[in-house]
Symmetry: C2
């Protein structure tokens, strides 16, 4: 019998603020970071890998939260644990002392997600399959057992979810073969950072078109004048055929959001993303009604399935942007995919950061294979940054993600990358002590 022996948790930070890649209206200078978890076992070579992506400062807090979960799984029988990941999810999410720190949101919930995702990595490795393929082999009832329907029953019952999954059984093998041959659509955000000059924007857009992307995304929300200029420039570079989405990263209240979006509407927006607070179901719904037909997208900061459920119930979302690290792991994202299918929202996962492309691609592939069965208007975000630190990096060719093929969930980082970027003692950080690292002022409000 293999036993879980404990956690190895690393505070890994990449100094991305030095280049302003990643800069947007809310995050002027992020240091893309990972609270990186390795679940160890007493079987040599058997380990599970995952992480929570953060923006830099506080990555140590996220690491501490992951460590706080260690005693809940340490010593467990690995196979028994992997055979009941639904039970593990309910046990970790429902822990009566830890849940006070959320409940089901923020640091503690992301930590639960990381632990679950590491066990999913172990499960996929045990099966010798990439995660999406493992998920796609599950029967409808096996998927249902993984989902926590608590707080969902007014919008999605297990019976309704089962119908969605059963209907998707037909043609699944063909869709899996299609994914393995042709991959899944991607769009790119690399051109659109707010910190880039117009010259950088143009050069990056030209590259994106040359690379075969059919959608690009620009950050907006700091200056309307700048946004109009940049969108005009973007349209002149990419033409009318390439879709252009915009992302406000939560900077607006409901009223100003509507005015701003209407001013950008002439540029034929593929969607407007995070127009306001990710907690604000009612304001997002009001914005969507007011700016129709501009589609509204959100999700990278949506705390859990309960908020996604309400966004869908309220008619606030055209596009659901699930994130691999924000919620309670693969399990809660299964609930999110089922909710999207029930309500007919398009799933276009959030990615970028560090490792988010690697992690979330599996969920989009699974969605196409076994839940929504369509990639119409759907695509996974792609940012060509920091992939070199992963053992099985995601790959986008001609605007499409290649199907992950290696066993596991693609979330293993290279040992040398972990060592080099460990904060504060890794060589990249020069042994700078916590507390004396550079700090950034809060963004100016637009």
């Amino acid at each position: 019998m293999t036993r879980v022996t404990g956690f190895e948790v690393h505070d890994v930070r990449f100094p991305t603020s030095r280049t302003l890649a990643g800069s947007d209206a809310m995050n002027p200078s992020p240091d893309y970071s990972a609270a990186y978890l390795v679940v160890r076992t007493d079987s040599p070579g058997t380990a599970g890998h995952s992480f929570v992506f953060t923006n830099g400062w506080g990555n140590d807090v996220q690491a501490a939260a992951i460590r706080a979960i260690e005693p809940l799984v340490s010593g467990a029988d690995l196979d028994a644990t992997l055979d009941d990941l639904g039970g593990l999810s309910r046990r970790l999410v429902g822990d009566s002392q830890l849940r006070w720190l959320g409940p089901e949101k923020g640091v503690v919930h992301m930590a639960v997600g990381a632990v679950l995702n590491a066990f999913w990595d172990l499960a996929a490795r045990r099966a010798g399959l990439p995660l999406w393929r493992l998920l796609a082999t599950l029967s409808p009832d096996e998927v249902l057992a993984l989902v926590d329907f608590r707080y969902l029953s007014d919008a999605l019952t297990p019976g309704e979810a089962r119908e969605i999954l059963v209907a998707a059984e037909r043609g699944k093998a063909e869709r899996i073969a299609e994914l393995e041959e042709h991959g899944y659509p991607a769009y790119t955000t690399s051109p659109g950072w707010l910190g880039y000059t117009d010259e950088q924007l143009v050069a990056q857009l030209e590259q994106a078109v040359a690379d075969g992307f059919s959608q690009v995304k620009l950050k907006v929300g700091t200056s309307l004048e700048d946004d109009v200029r940049r969108l005009r420039l973007a349209r002149s570079v990419v033409g009318a055929e390439v879709r252009v989405a915009v992302d406000a990263n939560q900077v607006w209240d409901a009223g100003p959001a509507v005015e701003w979006i209407r001013a950008l509407e002439p540029f034929d927006l593929a969607w407007v993303e995070e127009p306001t607070s990710p907690d604000d179901v009612l304001a997002t719904a009001a914005i969507r009604r007011a700016v129709a037909p501009v589609p509204v997208a959100a999700g990278e900061h949506v705390a859990n399935r309960i908020v996604f459920k309400q966004l869908l119930q309220a008619g606030a979302l055209d596009v659901m942007q699930i994130d691999a690290c924000r919620v309670g792991g693969v399990n809660e994202n299964l609930a999110n995919l089922l909710l999207a299918a029930k309500f007919g929202a398009r799933v276009c996962p959030h990615a970028g950061g560090v490792g988010l492309c690697e992690a979330v691609q599996h969920l989009a592939f699974f969605d196409y294979a076994a839940v929504s069965c369509t990639s119409e208007g759907r695509m996974v975000e792609w940012i060509d940054n920091l992939h070199e630190h992963f053992a099985a990096p995601a790959s986008v060719v001609s605007g499409r993600y290649a199907a992950p093929a290696a066993p596991g969930s693609s979330t293993e980082m290279l040992r040398e990358s972990v060592a080099r970027f460990t904060f504060p003692d890794g060589p990249e950080w020069g042994g700078r002590r916590v507390g004396s690292a550079p700090r950034h002022a809060a963004p100016e409000r637009p």
Copy 2:
């Protein structure tokens, strides 16, 4: 000039799970804990005290989050900081790297709240006033400058908030005098823990009536049969005149909530508290419509003003239960009080735990003096537990909180209590290592 020199953060835990005081349907065995913060300055004797209340496990994570904020304020000019606590609030809440961990929710937001509250303690001490009196001396414009209206403008504009505050200027001095003489109403939850036997329940209820309380609260939600028996017993002890509220601590989905509450309605419920997820605005509104006229209460787990705003917009709440530690400190609770005033919700703060009575009483006193100007149907929760660990403990006599009189915010813990209950090295915990302390299984789902 006085400078902030740094933070002292203590992981303080009380082993309350040994007695089952504090047991409810979601929290069968909490260890009431405080991530306790002392903001130190270079002026001898000048320090600010605050804490985040937690349920035990993970208190170290909360402490780490508080420490992560230290570099944002360390070295600051104390007087300049205290003169612009609105600016400090915006700076801490909006920190572009830390906010990824929320945003504005969970561990990182509670940490921001603790830091702000410690500076409020310093501000009140500097003024030589209890916090509620300091707040009541502020002009409407001074209060407005403390409030972050971001994401609120679709429900409450600064102009509307100003009208509420200006209207409350009339009679303020008289209300302050009245509060100082007669205090503010309390209700007690001490009798109603789920872990108590019927004999303990009866004895505690008799004591509550003898102590002059006009409202008691019982935990419900694990067994309907038990709840009916306990409510019948409660009514037989307290009679028809004493109000009886019930608290489900989030255990129900929307549908089951309605059925359960209707079954308890014959016992004339003062309110039903937390019938479902604190994130579920739409379900809470649906429940309230379905169980009317039973009032619905929530708030102790409501993450921020944005969720409170929506609960009010959606007509989900009769009673807003602000919590001193859950949100972004005094500043965000000012926003919550103004929202409640705008929408006509009764404010009945959540308290209990450790130190929550001490901290939140100031906000209720301020609300009566300078915002809502009424205590009609309003009261602060009271649980007679762990007050002996505070330098200026809250006091309830004849069912009313006495007006806090000591300068500060009543959140200073005794040094010997901090030392004795520090986890894991304090004598009460016997030097037990983190990781080997008792862990509790997740609650059985009712």
